[in-house]
Amino acid sequence: MNVNDYLIVATIIFCIGAVGVLIRKNLVTIFLSLELMFNAANLGFVAVSEYLNLISGDIFVIFIMVVAAAEAAILLGIAIAFYREKGTINIDDANELKF
């Protein structure tokens, strides 16, 4: 089991997440795709630190998890506020600021 394989899987998940961010219009779904990307990073870190016999990568993963949680909280807030104003969480409705 080469580290490359893990990295490839991570990359695939990362890219799927990126696609999701690109094509979805729903705020929540976009956030889910972002979480996918974060998880890809996590996977990469764990794989690499195992491959290099290091531990710091795993620590990093923990912090990433914390940040992800924090951002989930922020998303909660923003989604609610946005919904309150627009009645939807479709990001296409956010087009007041332009040019």
Binding site: K25, I91, D92, A94, N95, K98, F99
Partner: protein, 627 residues
């Protein structure tokens, strides 16, 4: 600064003082400006006579006032050279201008620009004096332009008349065209000789290669042609008659227009070393003499007739200096100054009597009304047409004789023809104005001019009658020639006389020419034995040619002026506005259009933002991928 220098510098000082006084405080002086101005000029006339005798019985000298322009190796002083040539000119200028001043007091009596007039006139006299006294080319050039400017403001003296201000502008610009060449000549002299002082230049000019000398001479000639209204730059002088008549007498007959001849005489060394240039001078002179007198045949405006005759007389002078007989040229210059000034002044007095009428067809039989004017006019006419013993006879025949003896027969013939026509047109004027039946409309009361105008006429008339004898007998051994030739020592060394015909047969021929001219005029206008109208119709093309001044102005308009005009407008409208400024604004336009496109990138759509970001990522990765 010893007494001689003091006198020399006082001569220009008084007219300058006058100019400043009347110019600035004119309205406090009113009429005194006229008298005081005349007194100033008379003082400087006396001073110049003194100088004349100092030089005549001593020798020439030069005096420096102050260093003018000292730019590294370009050094020019304000200084004068006083030799026989300049003192003669001084005396002539101051003398005639004092007479004209006195005359003007009467002529301009009730003109509201009285003081202004005298300040201009004094300014002109100052400039003219400095012009003849200058001892280097730059100073000469300066006052050369200064007199041009004075004639500009004097021609346009009555600036309300569009024709007057136009004429002034035309005079200035045509002169500028001549001065363009003159300035180039001065520069060429400086860069070849390294100095502009007459003495140094003349003593060293023979060291230059001939083509350079010729170039310099021709460039100087351009200036002379412009100033002396020679062909092809003669067009400004007839229009200049818009100015007050005394101005025409002083500037456009006696002094300024002859400055060209003075210049060539002054630079006789240069011209002597360049036969080609002298030949060009001769050609120009003879063409002008012939052409101008031809035009003068059919003009009806008295002053225009006299103006054209001035042009042609100066043509004679050019012929003289062209063949290298500078003495004869100067001689004719002086005598011409006298009798042509006289003619103008009398014409002015006729105008004054006729309250401004100039068309000879509306005159006639004035002899009884204004005797003094008539007689003086006739004296002037005789002098002009070269009838002995009047001054014109001696000077003109001296010239023609020299031309003949130098072997330039063709030009001699031209000269004789011109002399014939001269006699004709001037007596045409005389007969039409003073004799025959009167065409003056009745309610116009014709009167003789006041004393203050007639006295100068009489003085000048008597001068015109007797002056010629200082040059008798012609060629080389008369008072005048002995006096002046001391300055033209190396003048004859390039044109040896091919044949030595004595003066009386030649002058007999020209006298015959003159007399026949007078006779034909008499036949035409007194006896009326021909029907002039029929004659006119038979020679219609020639008549029109003469009447329309050979169409020179029109040709200039078509060939030079209009193309220039269109080119200028093209430059302004097309090149400047469209091309250059268009390019600048076009760039600005382009930038703003681009920016309005660029702003569209920021279209407010989160989707597209993410897309942009992703594209950026891909591009960066691709950079390394393809690397």
């Amino acid at each position: 600064m010893n007494s001689k220098d003091l006198i020399v510098w006082l001569i220009p000082f008084f007219p300058l003082l006058g100019a400043i006084l009347w110019g600035v405080f004119g309205k406090y002086f009113k009429n005194y400006s006229g008298y005081l101005g005349s007194i100033f000029i008379i003082i400087s006339f006396i001073l110049s006579v003194i100088i004349f005798f100092i030089v005549a019985y001593g020798h020439g000298f030069s005096s420096t006032l102050y260093p003018w322009v000292y730019a590294s190796y370009f050094k020019v002083n304000v200084s004068t050279t006083i030799d026989r040539l300049s003192v003669i000119m001084l005396v002539m200028v101051t003398g005639i201008s004092s007479l004209v001043h006195i005359y003007s007091i009467g002529y301009m009596k009730d003109d509201k620009g009285f003081a202004r007039y005298f300040s201009y006139l004094n300014l002109f006299v100052f400039s003219m004096i400095m012009l003849v006294m200058a001892n280097n080319f730059l100073l000469l050039y300066v006052f050369w332009e200064a007199v041009g400017f004075c004639s500009y403001i004097l021609i346009g003296f009555w600036y309300e008349k569009k024709s007057a201000s136009d004429a002034g502008k035309k005079a200035f610009i045509v002169n500028r065209i001549g001065d363009f060449g003159f300035a180039l000549g001065v520069m060429l002299i400086f860069i070849t000789m390294g100095t502009l002082n007459y003495s140094t230049v003349f003593s060293g000019i023979h060291l230059l290669p001939p083509y350079l000398i010729t170039t310099i001479a021709l460039l100087l000639l351009a200036g002379a042609v412009g100033k002396s209204a020679q062909f092809p730059l003669h067009v400004w002088l007839p229009d200049a008659m818009e100015g007050p008549t005394p101005v025409s007498a002083l500037i456009h007959a006696a002094t300024m227009v002859t400055a060209g001849v003075y210049l060539i005489a002054r630079c006789h060394v240069i011209f002597s070393y360049s036969p080609d240039a002298s030949y060009v001078v001769l050609i120009i002179g003879s063409i002008t003499a012939f052409m101008a007198s031809f035009i003068a045949l059919t003009q009806f405006d008295i002053k225009r007739v006299i103006a054209y005759s001035t042009i042609s007389q100066i043509g004679y002078m050019f012929m003289a200096v062209g063949v290298g007989s500078y003495a004869a040229g100067m001689f004719h210059l002086l005598s011409h100054a006298i009798f042509k000034g006289l003619l103008f002044l009398t014409a002015g007095s006729v105008m004054h009597g006729m309250s401004g009428e100039l068309d000879m067809r509306k005159m006639g039989g004035l002899y009884s009304k204004m005797k003094i004017t008539a007689i003086t006019f006739i004296v002037g006419g005789l002098a002009l047409s070269g009838i002995p013993p009047f001054s014109g006879f001696f000077s003109k025949d001296a010239i023609l004789g020299d031309v003949f003896n130098k072997g330039d027969y063709f030009f001699w013939v031209l000269g004789e023809l011109a002399a014939f026509m001269t006699a004709f047109y001037i007596f045409r004027v005389i007969f039409n104005v003073f004799f025959g039946e009167s065409h003056v409309d009745k309610n116009l009361h014709v009167h003789e001019s006041p004393k203050i105008m007639t006295i100068p006429l009489i003085i000048m008339a008597s001068l015109a009658a007797v002056f010629g004898f200082v040059g008798f007998p012609p060629f080389n051994h008369s008072i005048f020639y002995e006096f002046i030739n001391k300055d033209f020592t190396n003048a004859f060394n390039f044109a040896p006389a091919v044949n030595n015909v004595p003066w009386y047969p030649l002058s007999a021929i020209s006298v015959i020419a003159g007399l026949s001219g007078i006779y034909i005029a008499y036949v035409f206008y007194i006896k009326k034995s021909f029907n002039l109208e029929k004659l006119k119709n038979r020679f219609k093309p020639i008549y029109d040619l003469s009447y329309n001044k050979l169409y020179v102005d029109e040709i200039y308009d078509i060939v030079i002026v209009n193309p220039m005009k269109n080119f200028a407008i093209f430059l302004w409208r097309i090149v400047d506005t469209l091309v250059i400024d268009g390019a600048v604004n076009g760039i600005a336009q382009y930038i703003s259009v681009t920016s309005s496109k660029v702003r569209k990138l920021q279209n407010g759509m989160l989707m597209s933002y993410i897309f942009t970001l992703t594209v950026g990522v891909i591009a960066l990765l691709a950079y390394y991928f393809v690397r």
